[in-house]
């Protein structure tokens, strides 16, 4: 078995030598460069836009504004999924948010385009923008359910009644920040037309989305559009949907008759492809004195944009994680003059933070150890559907046990603000991680050549998670060949259509298709061998032949054997292709996260000193890549807890932290020792190979665990993220 082994990344050598070619690294002859000019104001109209000087600047080929902007064959609808937003820039003079595209300059070199962009003069009629969620709470409304079927309202039992009569009631008002994905690779697109066929070198988490929606906007057939993305420098949701800069670049390249490359600046990445919405949440829990939960009432408001009503921050953990007869969840939105929000790694972590914080508050109120409290309210059945047992796919109890043991979680916690070390207060905290498990249809094709090497292809992506590697392993296992005999190519719509890399679904979806394609190819070759009188396997029933290490052999008489290469040298290459349509049901994945922090007595600085995560991600496909995903996810949660916050000026609507020195992502020095454990039990309900997603699950839990540890250290409950020093003084 190669699956599960900590196989080194097959793309590792290309990445450590600089040989891996990302979207902006492609060399294209005759390339021109586009630079975006964006709105300085957040609301109003353009009353004059003077492009004369820019157009005359050396090297400039074209200057595009709303006066001469590309006109498109389609208008994204009110619920735009899988477009990122409804608004198409450069169509009229209206400004909805700061940082909106208002002009594009194309020149022969990047530096000349950049300079010319500074010469464009714009006068605006400025209106007062709406920027604050808090100031607009009275205008909050429940959105229509869009095509993604996001859930905004849910109730069971009598939550308010049960809360009113509960012996113990705890309520909290939690605030989470606007955040930006900030993958290290800036978003880039290069559009190259050959006649009426378009090739896009694109930073995308979903080749198929980009192809479908770019074709729709440009009024061409999908077959005329090829999207290429062999390496992606992270996405985390920012590159998941199709945003205007992509089809605008393609349209400009078409009218210009030249290839055009656009790379967003770091600052532009803050307004071009969404962000995690700020939320204000009120959450109450009712319980008996022994901590048995009787009611949850959870009401959240999050920001949305002027043209789109959407909130991606689903809060299903409140209604699905713990056994509780009465629950009510309401999610509202307010329209602001900011861009349209989009999913960011682990949308459920926002509500999960509030839920796992209130669990900690309930623990303080009842005196029940936080871990025991969670076990006391463990759900064996879906609380939303009591007739549906969670079955064999829920191993949360194992997560609690594994994590508590690794962390040495105390049975009895010392009082808050009672443990000191080196001028700081020490605290520990824990939280449950919960995430739905999504899957998508995937297709994988394999050709095995006469040398016995398998070329595997699928139009999916490796966004850094390890798709290249786990598919290589899965196919090698299914075929019974060494991993080095398998080469996997992805990132090209010329390959078989496959799964998007959003919602932690790639490994389970593409991995399952890869397993089936590999098995099918093995069966084909066995069938050829047993029918071939030149083969040592001739005449053996196919079911009695199997393969290992590149050799096909008789199960009962392993001396009768030959290699794949032996068979294929006689018969020529063999192809297989498998489509996995994806299971209809949604499974869940779970975890338990434990944190220890030190809070400086004098300054309020919080440093995480230890993190432990135990996760139920189904079957572990690669111990090395899964572990790395889990650590990365937990540190992602650390950023949400302590450092990350997009700051917007409330009068101007400008994002003030549109860079990496104002928007603080965790650095190497913030990271403590991290321990990870996996339950590693297959969940056949999630996918045929028993795998579930890991990237987002692991980003859940850490935020609340750290916040709970801070409360345990200091005795202060900060309900407003991130927990910066000023909030603890």
């Amino acid at each position: 078995m190669i699956i599960g082994k900590p196989l080194d990344r097959v793309d590792g050598p290309a990445k450590v030598t600089g040989a891996a070619k990302y979207a902006a690294d492609q060399h294209i002859p005759g390339l021109t460069h586009a630079v975006l000019v964006t709105s300085a104001i957040a609301r109003g109209k353009i009353i004059r836009i003077d492009t004369g000087q820019a157009a005359r600047s050396p090297g400039v080929l074209s200057v595009i504004t709303h006066h001469n902007g590309p006109r498109f064959a389609y208008q994204p609808p009110k619920h735009p999924w899988i477009y990122g937003q409804t608004h198409v820039p450069l169509q009229n003079d209206v400004i909805y948010h700061s940082g909106q595209i208002v002009a594009v300059v194309i020149a022969d070199t990047l530096e000349r385009a950049r300079y010319a962009a500074t010469l464009i003069q714009i006068d605006y009629a400025v209106e007062t923008p709406e920027i604050s969620v808090e100031a607009n709470l009275d205008k909050a409304f429940i959105p229509e359910r869009g095509p993604f079927n996001l859930r905004y309202e849910y109730r069971r039992g009598d939550a308010h009644g049960a809360l009113a009569t509960a012996p113990v009631r705890v309520s909290g008002r939690y605030r989470t920040s606007m955040q930006h994905h900030n993958p290290m690779e800036p978003t880039a697109t290069t559009a190259v037309w050959d006649g009426d066929h378009l090739t896009l070198y694109e930073t995308t988490q979903a080749l198929a989305f980009t192809r479908q929606k770019t074709a729709e906007m440009l009024g061409v057939d999908q077959k005329q559009v090829r999207v290429v993305s062999p390496y992606l420098g992270g996405g985390f949701g920012a590159k998941g949907y199709v945003w205007p800069h992509t089809f605008i670049t393609a349209a400009i390249a078409r009218s210009l008759g030249r290839p055009v490359k656009l790379v967003l600046t770091r600052a532009q990445s803050y307004t071009m492809h969404g962000h995690r919405a700020e939320t204000v949440q009120e959450l109450s829990v009712g319980a008996t004195r022994d901590g048995t939960i009787t009611a949850f009432v959870h009401s959240a408001v999050s920001q949305t944009s002027m043209l789109n009503e959407v909130s991606w921050e689903e809060m299903d953990a409140t209604t699905q994680l713990y056994a509780c007869p009465n629950a009510e969840l309401t999610r509202r939105v307010v329209r602001l003059n900011l861009g349209t929000p989009t999913p960011m790694r682990a949308p459920l972590s926002v509500g999960g933070y509030a839920l796992e914080s209130i669990m900690d508050e309930l623990s303080h109120a009842t005196g029940v150890n936080p871990l025991e409290l969670r076990l006391r309210n463990y759900s064996t059945h879906n609380p939303e559907n009591p007739s549906q047992p969670w079955g064999t796919g829920k191993f949360l109890r194992d997560c609690y046990e594994l994590g508590a043991k690794l962390f040495d979680w105390p049975h009895r916690l010392p009082r808050p603000r009672s443990t000191r070390r080196d001028g700081g207060w020490i605290g520990v905290g824990m939280a449950t991680a919960f995430h739905p498990t999504y899957v998508s249809a995937a297709t994988v094709s394999i050709r095995m050549d006469a040398d016995g090497k398998a070329l595997v292809r699928s139009a999916t992506q490796d966004i850094g998670t390890g798709t290249y590697t786990i598919v290589t392993q899965t196919v090698a296992d299914a075929l019974g060949v060494p991993a080095k005999s398998v080469r996997f190519e992805l990132g090209d719509t010329n390959f078989a259509p496959s799964a998007p890399s959003i919602g932690s679904r790639t490994a389970a979806s593409v991995g399952t298709a890869a397993h089936h394609a590999g098995s099918a190819l093995k069966d084909k070759v066995i069938a050829i061998a047993v029918a071939d009188h030149r083969s040592p396997l001739y005449g053996i029933p196919a079911a009695q032949v199997t393969a290992a290490d590149g050799q096909l052999f008789h199960r009962l008489d392993p001396r009768r054997r030959e290699t794949y290469a032996d068979v294929l040298r006689r018969h020529g290459p063999v192809d297989s292709e498998a489509v996995w349509p994806a299971a209809p049901g949604i499974s869940r994945s779970y975890g338990a996260v434990f944190a220890e922090v030190t809070v400086d007595d004098a300054t309020g600085e919080v440093r995480v000193t230890r993190l432990v995560g135990a996760f139920d991600i189904g079957r572990v496909l690669n111990a090395k890549t899964a572990r790395s995903q889990a650590i990365g996810g937990m540190i992602w949660g650390l950023g949400t807890a302590l450092t990350e916050h997009t700051i917007v000026d409330e009068h101007l609507g400008r994002i003030l932290t549109a860079n990496l020195s104002g928007y603080l992502v965790p650095v190497e020095a913030d990271v403590p020792d991290v321990d990870i454990a996996f339950v590693d039990k297959a969940d056949p309900a999630a996918s045929d190979i028993g795998a579930k997603g890991v990237g987002e699950l692991a980003s859940n839990g850490a935020t609340a665990a750290i916040a709970n540890a801070v409360c345990h250290a200091t005795g202060r409950r900060v309900r407003d993220l991130p927990i910066t020093p000023d909030k603890l003084l």
Partner: protein, 331 residues
């Protein structure tokens, strides 16, 4: 970035001649701040005089026991220099707590003195900023000012000076040597940076045609027991919310020598002379430390967004002094 003429100077006379008479020319040292500002169209010089090849890279012991540091000594080199590590540990610590290894490798001493504020509005050309565009106003005053100044502020500007190194230099009473075609001038560190007043775009007492050539540190015996403490939002690679440079000598139970400077609180590295006055001759107790800190911060003016800095500065001063007492005892 706007087009500009590029000149590379090989010696100081050539460099200062190249800039004389060109009011919109700039010297380019390590470039870690200037190149970024030019790319953001915040600085738009006509001419760049690259001074990285000037022979101003020495770190030399002076006859009086002080140290002379060439203006082009790289930050990382200075922080690691044995003379600095042994005699002025506070300076070494301050430099190493600033920026990142890559930036310290490029950044020069002269450039560090002249770095511009990190006020978020200064960097956003769509916002009003009296420092960037004199007379345009200050959006930080009614806006997001959590990172902003509480000492020496004016109604025109709340920006802070972002340097860590300069806080240590202010504490050490360094002198800045500058040169132009008109000759050489020496400016005490405390007079090098100026408060915003009505002219926040004027940040130093350096004339437009003057080149920083060296920084001189006097011999400061008490600096052997010194420390730099930086409070920030993440464990490394972030600007100071508040920082404290301090040196302390306690004889018996009495403070016999003390030096104190603050960063992250003003448009200049803030020498805490009021606190020093309170401490000198006072018993080295928590109570004295608190009184001294309160005396220094008594003149602070804060906005709702940065009010926390007053208490934070006081607590950090006390914590650093407490640590120096313990450390001094151990030594």
């Amino acid at each position: 970035m706007k087009s500009f003429a590029y000149v590379s100077a090989r010696d100081v006379p050539t460099a200062v001649s190249a800039i004389a008479g060109s009011p919109n020319a700039k010297f380019l040292g390590g470039g870690t701040n200037l190149v970024d500002l030019m790319r953001g169209n915040i600085e738009q010089p006509d001419t760049i005089v690259d001074i990285t090849r000037l022979p101003l890279t020495g770190v030399d012991l002076l006859p009086d026991g002080g140290v002379r540091i060439g203006a082009l000594v790289r930050n990382s080199h200075l922080a690691a220099h044995p003379l600095i590590r042994s005699r002025y540990p506070v300076l070494s610590q301050a430099i190493l707590l600033g920026a990142s290894a890559q930036l310290r490798n490029m950044a020069t001493v002269g450039g560090n003195l002249l770095q511009r504020t990190r006020c978020l509005y200064f960097y956003d050309t769509a916002a009003a900023c009296n420092k960037r565009a004199p007379g345009s106003g200050c959006d930080a005053i009614g806006g997001f000012n959590r990172n902003h100044a509480i000492l020496g502020v004016s109604d025109n500007c709340l920006a802070t000076h972002p340097s860590d190194m300069c806080v240590a230099l202010a504490m050490l009473d360094a002198t800045v040597e500058v040169e132009s075609t008109r000759g050489v001038r020496r400016i005490p560190m405390n007079e090098f940076h100026v408060l915003p007043g009505d002219t926040p775009h004027v940040e130093t007492s350096l004339a437009a045609d003057e080149l920083v050539t060296a920084v001189e540190l006097p011999s400061v015996a008490v600096a052997a027991n010194s420390r730099y403490r930086k409070v920030r939002d993440r464990a490394s690679y972030a600007f100071a919310l508040v920082s404290v440079a301090a040196a302390l000598e306690v004889t018996g139970t009495t403070v016999t020598q003390v030096r104190l400077a603050l960063g992250g609180v003003s448009a200049k590295p803030w020498r805490a002379t009021k606190a020093e006055e309170v401490l000198l001759g006072a018993p080295a107790t928590e109570e004295s430390f608190r009184q001294a800190a309160a005396a220094e911060l008594a003149a602070a003016t804060a906005r709702p967004g940065n009010e926390f800095k007053i208490g934070l500065a006081e607590r950090t001063i006390v914590a650093v002094l407490r640590e120096l007492v313990t450390k001094g005892d151990a030594a």
